[in-house]
């Protein structure tokens, strides 16, 4: 006997939801972009659970940290010639934020007098009687005149070098765009992050880490990594996701540019998408899907779809152009996330055909043709998702995929429109289109999200 098997006809609605938040790209700063995203998570009801400040390391030969010997007999120190002039010759360090650079200029305190306050982008600091003292004085001057705590130690990899270590004074990445220089090493002080945790759904949670990081590259168009040190590349925002059911596995997704995009999120789900097409306009959907109540026990499904993770990705707009996803996906039940990784693209090993199991939206529609009522109204349905216990599970034909529940605050409509910003009314709510099917063999439909915030005062989280 089947107990309460009837399909739900409504999407699950969150008691708190950000609605659709638009993130501007007028000032394409990864810091501002990530700050806007952070604000969106708070609107969506996620809780900040931690933060780590950005850090960086640079090395310099000890011989560069020149020192002095007091004159005998002592002399009366003379004013440095034009200490606030344009010349920065001899500077031992600098901090750059945008077009503004602060130079750290050394002087012999036994022979010269220097301004005690910064002037015209210069900070004068005294050299010491040893190169260690000079390095310490430089670190103190940088600490007093930059957003970083700067410390000096020997470089454990090279006894002839000092290692300058920078720690952001901000909670996380707020000063990542300030670039220090004393020599060679990491270009940015980065890697700081905030963690936000979803609300608990049946005892399960998701944690997202919002982080700026320089991105390295093994080969053109190849695999990317963000573990430090990453000494090449530009600052890029990263979103990393863990589930409480698989705390040691982490989904890592890069956002290539601080792009114009949209955010929609609730306590158990969020999505970031864009209306532009190319690799550098990224997207992501993360959801603890709502399993139908009679089938709740032990289900706890998870779905992640993004444009790119630590994997070669060939379908960057898959989230906006399809209602089924073949690359850069993670799925699982029991709140355990399994995701595609680069080895599964190989032509050998357990998955020689290089194909993954495909999470798909399930609905009632027609292929390549819209489905309407007699009054020419498209059908609106909840967005059920079919997904696998393990998307890399092989052989592919020997496993059954299952109904993974419904996406929150989202609905399928059995027609498509060209305008991704379309808004309409369904079930007394306002909606915005997020994605649409574009392949002729696919079920024709579009995915819509609730437009207005719920459970909070209206605020502007845009950049």
């Amino acid at each position: 006997m089947l107990i309460d098997p009837f399909l739900s006809t409504e999407p699950p609605y969150s008691e708190r939801c950000s609605g659709v938040r638009e993130i501007s790209d007028e000032d394409p700063s990864p810091i501002k972009w990530l700050g806007a995203i952070k604000g969106c998570f708070e609107l969506a009801g996620w809780t900040q659970t931690g933060n780590v400040p950005s850090e960086g390391d640079q090395q310099i030969s000890k011989s560069h940290m020149w020192f002095t010997t007091p004159p005998i007999p002592p002399v009366v120190p003379a004013l440095i010639d034009d200490p606030c002039g344009p010349s920065t010759s001899g500077g031992l360090g600098r901090m750059t934020t945008g077009d503004l650079t602060t130079w750290f200029m050394p002087y012999d305190p036994y022979r010269y007098l220097a301004p005690t306050e910064p002037c015209n982008g210069k900070v004068w600091f005294p050299v010491g009687l040893t190169n260690q003292e000079t390095a310490d004085n430089l670190a103190e001057a940088m600490t007093d005149n930059s957003p970083f705590l700067v410390t000096v130690s020997d470089n454990p990899a090279n006894a002839n070098e000092f290692n300058f270590h920078y720690t952001s004074a901000a909670p996380a990445w707020e000063y990542d765009e300030t670039v220090p220089w004393v020599g060679w090493g990491e270009h940015y002080v980065d890697g700081g992050y905030y963690t936000y945790r979803s609300q608990s759904l049946n005892g399960c949670t998701l944690t997202v880490r919002l982080q700026n990081n320089t991105t390295g590259c093994f080969r053109p168009g190849g695999v990317y990594w963000l573990e430090k040190p990453a000494i090449i590349g530009a600052l890029q925002p990263w979103l990393m996701i863990k589930s409480s059911g698989s705390p040691f596995d982490e989904w890592q997704s890069v956002f290539w540019t601080p792009t114009h995009c949209f955010f929609h999120g609730g306590p158990f789900q969020f999505a970031i998408w864009t209306d532009q097409k190319d690799r550098f306009h990224s997207s992501i959907l993360v959801s603890m899907l709502q399993m139908d109540i009679p089938h709740f026990t032990g289900a706890n499904p998870i779905l992640i779809v993004s444009s790119e993770n630590l994997d070669m990705q060939m379908d960057y707009q898959q989230l906006m152009e399809k209602l089924h996803w073949q690359d850069s996906i993670g799925t699982g039940f029991n709140n355990q996330l399994h995701y595609t990784t680069w080895p599964n693209r190989s032509t050998s090993g357990p998955n020689p055909d290089g194909k993954f199991r495909t999470p798909m939206v399930m609905f009632r529609g027609l292929r390549n043709v819209p489905l309407y009522t007699l009054s020419d109204t498209a059908l609106a349905q909840p967005a059920y998702v079919i997904l696998s216990e393990d998307p890399t599970g092989q052989p592919r034909g020997d496993q059954q995929d299952f109904i993974g529940g419904r996406l929150w605050d989202m609905a399928i409509v059995t027609d498509t429109t060209l305008n991704l910003d379309s808004k309409t009314m369904m079930s007394g709510r306002k909606w915005t289109q997020m994605s649409t099917s574009t392949r002729p063999t696919d079920l024709l439909g579009s995915l819509w999200v609730t437009h207005d915030p719920v459970g909070q005062e209206e605020t502007d989280a845009g950049v």
């Binding site: 089924h324 798909m360 007699l374 592919r396 034909g397 109904i403 079920l443």
Partner: protein, 360 residues
């Protein structure tokens, strides 16, 4: 979930296919007990009038024919027609009077001697008692008046005031698995109808006096414009089964995704949904006293459902099997989306004493 129930009599029986007169007599008894009105003789059978709970009407004829001409075997015929305009009729659908030992076309694999017959006050579903609904013998018909979506006018179409375009004043359908071509009768695979697929190849549908009698021949025979292929499938009469965004079994072998259990939850349960009826890209209605379920079931297999204090018993009418399955992604290649579906007809409905008495 609002299924459309007639809240009226339902009859189900297994009837012997021969003698043909006995079959027609037994069928007549069942139909009359469901509320069909016998209008009179039609050939050696009967013509009936049916009225749906919405007041929509239609006519239906059953009779039998001896073998011939050509390859036609001894058979029954069903034809739906308009009650408002009796000259407007649909296809004649043939279903053979069994395959018995001693028949010239007898084989053990294709033999059958009984029909599974289900009817309510406004529809009838007939299919041979045989495990394979897609082999070479044409042995299934369906027809009736569905529940009409949207506004309904029970004024006949022939009235002075034509109904608004979005209101339904007349709606009936018929389908069967015979191609209408005697030269291939019993020598080719049966056509798709609701006994073996979610979509029908040869059917009649009348909506507000406009009748469509379609006959999409089987692939891969050209021309594609008249073939049941990707061009025509979205517009043909079909049940609104649950489907996935991607044609999931388009790939073969290890590249395919497997749904042997259908579209089911991790606990093995399928979903049940109302049996929407589509035509020409429109939801025109749904079948009364019926449901769709997202798992495959054997023909005539019984399932029980308890929901909202009501216990219902159902019997499966559709099994999508056979060599030429469901959906097309080009003119010659097709996959079987109905492998994750079954079509249930109501057998009984009662209060679930464990749950109380709340209808759904």
């Amino acid at each position: 979930m609002g299924l459309a129930f007639t809240d009226d009599e339902i009859r189900y029986a297994i009837l012997a296919a021969r003698p043909e007169a006995d079959f027609l007599d037994a069928l007549n008894t069942m139909l009359l007990e469901c509320g069909w009105i016998r209008l009179g003789d039609f050939n050696n059978g009967s013509e009936y009038g049916i009225v749906s709970p919405q007041g929509l009407t239609a006519r239906c004829r059953f009779w039998s024919l001896a073998a011939g001409p050509g390859n036609w075997p001894r058979r029954f015929m069903m034809q739906m027609g308009s009650d408002a305009s009796p000259g407007t009729v649909g296809w004649e659908h043939a279903f053979i009077a069994g395959v018995y030992s001693g028949d010239s076309n007898y084989t053990a694999a294709t033999a059958f001697t009984q029909y599974s017959v289900w009817c309510n006050r406004c529809s009838v579903f007939i299919g041979a008692v045989h495990s394979d609904p897609k082999n070479s013998y044409q042995k299934a018909v369906q027809g009736g008046v569905p529940f009409a979506s949207g506004a309904v006018l029970s004024t006949p179409c022939g009235g002075e005031m034509p109904p608004p375009a979005v209101a339904t004043a007349e709606l009936w359908f018929s389908a069967g698995d015979d191609s209408g071509n005697p030269s291939i009768f019993s020598t080719a695979s049966a056509y798709w109808s609701f006994r073996n697929q979610y979509v029908c190849q040869r059917y009649s549908l009348c909506h507000n006096g406009a009748i469509t009698s379609a006959n999409f021949h089987s692939p891969p025979n050209p021309p594609p414009e008249t073939m049941m292929g990707w061009r025509n499938e979205p517009y043909a009469l079909q049940l609104g089964i649950m489907r996935t965004a991607r044609a999931w079994i388009r790939a073969a072998g290890s590249l395919a995704q497997k749904f042997e259990g259908g579209f089911i939850y991790p606990d093995g349960s399928p979903v049940v949904l109302n049996p929407l009826l589509y035509h020409n890209g429109r939801v025109i209605g749904e079948i009364y006293d019926a449901a769709l379920i997202s798992k495959p079931m054997a023909l005539d297999q019984v399932e029980s459902i308890s929901a909202s204090g009501v216990l219902t018993t159902w019997q499966n009418y559709m099994t999508a099997t056979g060599p030429t399955p469901g959906y097309f992604y080009d003119d010659l290649s097709y996959v079987n989306e109905a492998a994750a579906a079954a079509f249930l007809l109501l057998r009984a409905r009662e209060a679930d004493t464990d749950e109380g008495n709340v209808a759904y």
